[in-house]
Symmetry: C2
Subunit: 405 residues, 2 copies
């Protein structure tokens, strides 16, 4: 499996575009409407936020994907269309106008929104923008779509992989956005994937759930699970492989590639967390079960105090073991060893649950690198899990202290 | 019931002192060792952190309180004595030296620590300081003890109440510290209470658990549950009331006073959260059960994004309903109304789960006040709950980015 260019258009049969239509009123330079369209009707699947409060486009998309088919993805940034008046009506209206313009069934459209909660979607600017959006569609349009779904993201997120399946070359590509309101519970962001693999909707759904659980659900930026999270996958089948309809070798190869690209997206989202200066990777090894390893690792990357310590390049491992202690997992603290690691070096700071004396200067150098790993070794078993997070910074507070204006 | 002066020495039969001995090496002006002593052996009870990783003094105190009796409380700040070499030995050594100096049984000492995790307790400076600490004991020494248990706290926390029980005047007083690593799960801080009420250890324990659940467990500063949290209560019995040994009217009167003082301490801790500029009170009303109201309210005051919005005086109620949505409680978003309230006014910003158009200037004025209330009305039942938190600020990041040095 290799990473390739092309993002959400890397797989055969997908075009994309992204333009500014005016949902983002305060910045006319920023794109705010994205479209992905398949040449033909695709098999499709999606996973959604588990927040009890769900944005209107989530409700509409769930309905549209009941038949496991989709043709297009329409996304706006700048307004979440959640807890907003006429939310479902406005999502439906966007779909209806797009469908009429494209000559497709509105029920084959995946619709998504991201931005401020509780404000009415300015649906007319979306409707007015659709002709231009459709006109701009291109087989090399992934970056336009990727930039149009960004909110406070600093980095555009697009990825694609290529791998061989039974002699055929298959691609999975996608675009994603993250940044704030990111916490392990479903995707906690938006990501739209395409593939030319031939695969049934049922197997796609199964693969998406698995891939989400080992990738996006292992990322935390701020502990807030959004109302709008969605991850969708459309499969054009144009790679020409025999359709995957059950859990055999082909499925496992497809799943491995899907998990890999989702993990890379997850890391990109963590690294681009609002205001983040560090990507924090926490590996828990030697745990009793993978579920326990995951709970411990998530607790560490979600700990505000640990995040603040990494921001300050302070090797305060006490906060790491403290966060493990309130994770809900029972364990023997005396079996814990903690190592900080980065490109600058590797330093064990705690063994048998007790502090070691260590080189503070080296510790600082290690933690000043952009990518920092907290490696936790336990003596409870053989299971392990890796989760990803970021530090908390002045900039995070600034971004979120005045987000709506 | 009325609030009175005197703090932890307000109840009859208690002296206190607090001095600098050198646990806090970087600031010789700051007191770091506190002592509370009863004139006679007291009935005693305590509740502790539920963190799996427990500091050495927690283990020692649990052992000492098995018989429901205590005579003194010894507390150092500046070092948590958690995950530290010779933790239990050092806690025991402090108790042994204090016991010898006072002529009491070491097993009648409640010992506690707060500060950095993982560093060896400088027990010799504590031992060397004990004679001076004992010499300074005074019936008006509460403020010295209160200031000696502070870490990043900006405000000293002492309170006392007086109430009548069966014709006798009874007092409950105490000192507390909070600031960081504060999250609802046991006390999430240190608090030491005294009373002259005559009450059995069993009833004290029952009352403490109840009072903790409706006060300290409803506070969150940063979602991190500490390794060192402890709340203890000593009862001298000198008020002369008939000993409370069962759940009758006298117990209810005592419990009401205990809950009240604990709630006031809880609010003081939230308001003095690290870097906090606002006390946030979240009231959830009209919930199905008190447990659901509490889960919803806790989720709101724990939401980093909501905290950042209050810091920025941004009426971003979408983050409030989003936090409710991931609280784990099932509810109908369309039954939710949200009102922001403070000394500057009152403004409903969301009704039936939808945004209302509102006066943004008034909203800003309301949120710029120090004490801000988020009032959430649901249509699910008649239960309610209030929790307390604070905003997240640049200062929080600064404090926690470099805490150990």
């Amino acid at each position: 499996m290799t990473y390739i260019q092309g993002g959400v258009c890397a797989a055969q049969g997908f075009r994309a575009s992204g333009i500014h239509v005016g949902v983002k009123t305060n910045n006319t330079d920023k794109k705010d409407l994205a479209l992905i369209i398949a040449d033909h009707l695709c098999n499709a699947a999606a996973v959604y936020t588990k927040n009890v409060v769900q944005a209107a486009p989530i409700l509409v998309t769930k309905d549209h994907l009941k038949n496991g088919k989709a043709r297009a993805v329409l996304v706006n940034s700048g307004n979440a269309n959640a807890c907003a008046p006429q939310g479902v009506e406005n999502a439906n209206k966007s779909c209806a106008v797009l469908a009429a313009t494209l000559g497709i069934d509105p029920a084959d459209i995946i619709v998504a929104s991201t931005g401020v909660i509780g404000q009415k979607l300015p649906v007319q600017v979306i409707v007015d923008g659709i002709p231009q959006l459709v006109q701009n569609l291109s087989y090399t349009g992934s970056q336009n779509a990727a930039s149009a779904i960004m909110t406070t993201d600093l980095a555009m997120k697009e990825l694609a992989v290529e791998f061989e399946l039974n002699g055929k070359s298959v691609r999975i590509g996608g675009i994603a956005k993250g940044s704030g309101m990111i916490h392990p519970n479903m995707g906690t962001m938006l990501a739209f994937l395409t593939t030319d693999c031939a695969i049934s909707p049922d197997m796609m759904q199964q693969a998406l759930i698995h891939a989400t659980n080992v990738s996006f659900n292992r990322v935390s930026v701020d502990g807030d699970t959004s109302t709008n999270d969605m991850l969708s996958l459309m499969a054009s089948g144009m790679a020409g492989n025999g359709e995957i309809v059950s859990d055999g070798v082909d499925y496992q190869i497809f799943l491995a590639a899907l998990c890999d690209i989702c993990k890379e997206f997850a890391k990109m989202i963590a690294a681009d967390g609002e205001g983040a200066q560090h990507l924090i990777t926490c590996i828990v090894r030697g745990a009793k079960t993978e579920a326990e390893a995951e709970a411990l690792s998530k607790s560490v990357i979600s700990s505000t105090l640990t995040k603040a310590a990494v921001f300050g390049a302070d090797a305060n491992w006490g906060r790491v073991i403290c966060a493990m202690g309130y994770s809900g997992v029972a364990f023997d603290p005396e079996g814990v060893a903690i190592t900080f690691e980065s490109a600058a070096g590797k330093l064990m700071v705690c063994a048998h649950g007790r502090g070691l004396s260590f080189d503070e200067d080296l510790a600082k150098k290690i933690l000043q690198e952009h990518d920092v790993t907290i490696d936790i070794m336990m003596d409870a078993g053989k299971a392990e899990c890796t989760c990803w997070g970021c530090d908390i910074t002045y900039e995070y507070i600034k971004i979120n202290g005045d987000y709506r204006t």
